[in-house]
Symmetry: C2
Subunit: 414 residues, 2 copies
């Protein structure tokens, strides 16, 4: 322990103070946050983050879709940088740590190196990705995706939220429509620290998870077409009620999730209906579903089962349906060498850790496509996230940040 | 036929021209109308209607909730008036005749009497009730309800639409916040002509239905409470997804409707979900259901069956639910004497007619509570309504308006 005590360590209290300041910006209904991307609250948090990074001597660059890169130059600026990133946006009823911890841990690492006057061979970049949650503009993780070449930046700029507001307009409105091109440059290593969003680390009293893979997730948006008619006189056998068809599909998806439980899941969180008024049968509905299982083949089988259920529900509800959009994630390959580095660093620091699979999507998933990537988890209370009561504890968080610090140093000094 | 040809008749072409002019105000997406109450389109239609009525010599009065009364004075102004009313608002995707025919038929009757210089003993009032459809402010038929003492006018003025806009503010905005008290005066007789909104008259080639009663309808608003959580890691058995619970209830209601088909119906047209975003399980949902059957006991049994289903769905979806609002209509008693008058008038004019029950709600339902009331139906094409393709034909509409004219005259000259 004495040898370890001499090792470079982050200032946990300082990290905590930044988290607490962040927790004041964009309050939710309860104790959490509602900091949707490209809102005033998002701008205020970005301003605060940029101020902090400038105070820490970083150079700020912002790309065309609002991703922020706070760069601490390296000794050899010709080398590709090491990035530490995550996101500062939240769900509508989100917590104070999801994503935020990962960005502010990066800032804390820069501050710690500054305190000790430690230079690195490669530059470090603390990254804030725009709109990870997908709570306002879909899909989630879109801007790390664009950086990694998965999406086109112009397509993102044209995306609309549920009120018809355009991503590019809103980005300009908050002053984060940067000039930098999106992606297209070499990244040496990408590190992301995130809260686990599950109960396993806390249950086992382990402060660090090393993500070796993800649940395989398949998602779909389904549009249903029915026919407007009076809800009074129209007999049951003449009705083409798009809402009824959508409800049948939501129930069918839920049943499929239960058939694969545990560990499989099927989810529906979102529905749009038109006209959605009393007295008139709706002629349109749109629902969003996703299916997750650690085994890719099982996820694909769940999806196939859903497709059969869609046909059956259409027949029962006398409506038609189209799958208008699909996506998948979770078959990403995290870097073995980086995982081994994190594992050995943890051993060196006396931090117990375990390998895990991630059940949620993260910006790191996209980054695996263009850089060796390590995704680290730290515990959260009762596994609760995407809920305003999300919580973490400093003592169970600091060890993972110290492992991150030394892992970053090792990669940055290569 | 010759004797009948000498009888007073309305000018069908003139009625048609007013319907066509109305059909230009507040166009929908297709060939129909989107003329929601207290919108600019509603104001424009009200202005047109008031202009027409003033040109026809009527005195206009508007009450505190925007109901318009166009009065053609009688010879004895101490007597209670005979009213001919319906509504000028439409569904979001509505037709050009639902309600509108009833109001403009009243105007046509006034014009016809003016042409021939015919006075009546009692005054006639052509009435436009505010917000019959309930497409913007719920419940439907609220303003005839307030006139009949079912609702409080101040409660109506405080109602909000889905965007949080307040009825009273919107009424003032369009300039129809009148000074007249709501109701509280004697009405001798209330007549309403409405399109059938069902296929029976057309199928039997009968131009006039005399409504003797209504389907008994019970409605409910259900609020579901669940819990926000991440849609990824949260296992199926820990989820409290309010949308899933709501979907189960919509399917259960639909099943109950089918069990009573024909002639029973169960309907869900409306759902609200919060946050209704990807990635987060919704903790709130609200659905609106209704059950209809000509037999009151069967409707009540359907409602009881739904209440049991609500409990079962809550258990399955791990959520809680509360019925926050209920309503009923259809046990109204139309006036036998007025129905007999309409029947004998039809016979006199050689117009074939049949008794019917109404499957939809109408302003006339409220008026039965305070005045002898007659509700007349005329055919609509394929029974289609609350759909932009709603259609009627002049030749199949004029006979019912002529029966209305002579029935009104008989009551107004008592």
């Amino acid at each position: 322990m004495n040898a370890r005590a001499n090792l470079l360590q982050i200032d946990g209290e300082r990290l905590w103070a930044t988290l607490e300041r962040s927790g004041e910006i964009g309050p939710g209904r309860a104790q959490g946050l509602c900091r949707l991307p490209l809102t005033d609250a998002d701008r205020d948090m970005r301003d605060q983050f940029v101020d902090w990074c400038r105070e820490a001597g970083c150079e700020i660059s912002i790309d065309r879709i609002g991703n922020i890169f706070a760069r601490r130059p390296g000794e050899d600026e010709t080398l590709a940088p090491v990035q530490i990133g995550s996101h500062l946006d939240t769900q509508v009823a989100g917590g104070k740590y999801d994503g935020i911890l990962g960005v502010l841990a990066g800032l804390e690492i820069v501050r710690t190196l500054n305190d000790k006057g430690i230079a690195t061979r490669r530059a470090l970049e603390v990254v804030c990705w725009t709109n990870e949650e997908g709570a306002r503009f879909q899909p989630p993780m879109m801007c790390s995706g664009a950086f990694a070449g998965v999406y086109d930046a112009d397509w993102i700029l044209a995306c609309e939220d549920d009120d018809g507001l355009v991503f590019g307009d809103e980005l300009q409105r908050i002053g984060y429509d940067g000039k930098a091109l999106v992606g297209g440059r070499d990244i040496d290593t990408y590190f992301e620290l995130h809260i686990e969003q599950g109960p396993e680390l806390e249950a086992d009293n382990i402060p660090l998870g090393i993500v070796t893979g993800g649940y395989f997730s398949r998602g779909m948006v389904i549009e249903l077409k029915g026919e407007n008619a009076h809800s009074g006189p129209t007999p049951m056998d003449k009705r083409k009620n798009a809402l009824v068809g959508a409800a049948m599909m939501i129930v069918a998806a839920n049943d499929i999730g239960w058939q694969q439980h545990p560990p499989g899941k099927a989810t529906s969180t979102r529905i749009k209906v038109w006209p959605n008024k009393p007295g008139i049968l709706p002629d349109y509905a749109q629902i969003t579903l996703d299916f997750r299982h650690p085994d890719k083949e099982t996820t694909l089988a769940m999806e196939a089962q859903m497709k059969a259920a869609i046909d059956e529900c259409c027949e029962r509800a006398n409506v038609s349906a189209t799958i208008t959009h699909t996506w998948e994630f979770g078959n990403e390959i995290f870097d073995d060498e980086c995982a081994a580095l994190v594992r050995s660093t943890a051993a060196e620091l006396g931090v117990s850790c375990r390998d895990m699979v991630s059940q949620a999507g993260h910006d790191a998933y996209n980054m695996t496509k263009i850089a060796p990537t390590a995704l680290l988890f730290s515990p959260c209370k009762d596994g609760i996230s995407h809920n305003e009561s999300e919580d973490i504890e400093l003592a169970y968080t600091t060890p993972a940040v110290n492992v991150l610090l030394h892992s970053v140093l090792a990669r940055a000094n290569r």
